[in-house]
């Protein structure tokens, strides 16, 4: 099963994007993690790992906001027994495109193709 994982430095950004996507596609598992457990701004390996594990999907399209999220994600990618596809796309637009296409049952090749012009990282 394919799903979406949103990783942001901010809890509100992550939650907001999750709500936005859930409104459009209800059948795609969308998980998110934002900020630190204390509510402060940041990302950590542990919290990303937890969110990725919580998703029922075994293949996750991941959208993130800033550089340190990416490094933590890469560490999770190396240790977690799921496929994490780290997308360099702009977080909001990328997640929107992927969620819509997963929901329409498009294959990964089609998704990659649509995400490509949104790449900014």
């Amino acid at each position: 099963m394919r799903g979406i994982l949103i990783v942001s430095h901010s809890a509100k950004l992550a939650e907001g994007l999750h709500d936005l996507l859930q409104e459009i596609v209800s059948q795609v598992p969308i998980h998110y993690v934002g900020g630190l457990e204390t509510g402060e701004i940041g990302t950590t390996y542990d919290r990303i790992m937890e969110a990725a594990e919580a998703s029922p999907a075994d293949e996750l399209y991941v959208f993130y906001d800033l550089g340190s999220a990416k490094m933590n994600l890469e560490m999770v990618q190396e240790t977690l027994d799921k496929t994490l596809i780290l997308s360099p796309a702009a977080m909001v637009e990328g997640a929107f495109v992927a969620a819509t296409l997963i929901s329409a049952n498009a294959d990964n090749k089609a998704i990659e193709k649509q995400l490509k012009p949104l790449g900014i990282k």
């Binding site: 630190l36 701004i41 950590t44 390996y45 919290r47 340190s68 490094m71 890469e74 560490m75």
Partner: protein
Amino acid sequence: MPLMPPLKRLRGKRMDLGLARQWMDAWFEQLNAQKSYLSELDNPIGDGDHGINMARGANAAKDALADKEIPDLNTLFKTIAMALLSKVGGASGPLYGSIFLAFAKASANHDTLDYAQILALLNAGKDALMSRGKAEVGEKTMVDVWVPFTEQFADHAPSKDDVDALVEATKPLKATKGRAAYLGDRSIGHIDPGSMSTGYLFKALLDVLDS
């Protein structure tokens, strides 16, 4: 009795678990003491939280070490790595986390480390850092302290002044990696905060080796 030259003095030293803990404790203490200064350095070229992040990580590592049995160097470094990974919150989390995981690997099955093995440990940390951050020398990151310091350590015993000079040398560099890269030329003239916290790590090492 004439003073031994620093290289000979340091090279005779072995690092056992006690010395490694002293090294780490000294670093944690310095990260806490310099919390505001590190964040201040981070203000103009980052998001101003390097000090807060590193102090949070240092305290988490201290708590983790106090909570569990630390039988060897491998466990010491691994425990610190996991604490930094789970608590730092900024780019320094995965970077220092990767460095200490590499330290753990390099010290596995060793009760003590001689000078050459400490060098190997540092080199393993440097390699892990560079592969995680995908940074090279000259991009105004902590790599600019790690690479020359490990070279100096291989060549002669560096002094704390040498470390200060390496940290200071990040000032004129223009950032091309990390958050500071967005600032372009505006990053010139500021010391890189990650290089400063790395400087504390290396100075604490030289202190314990020279004690």
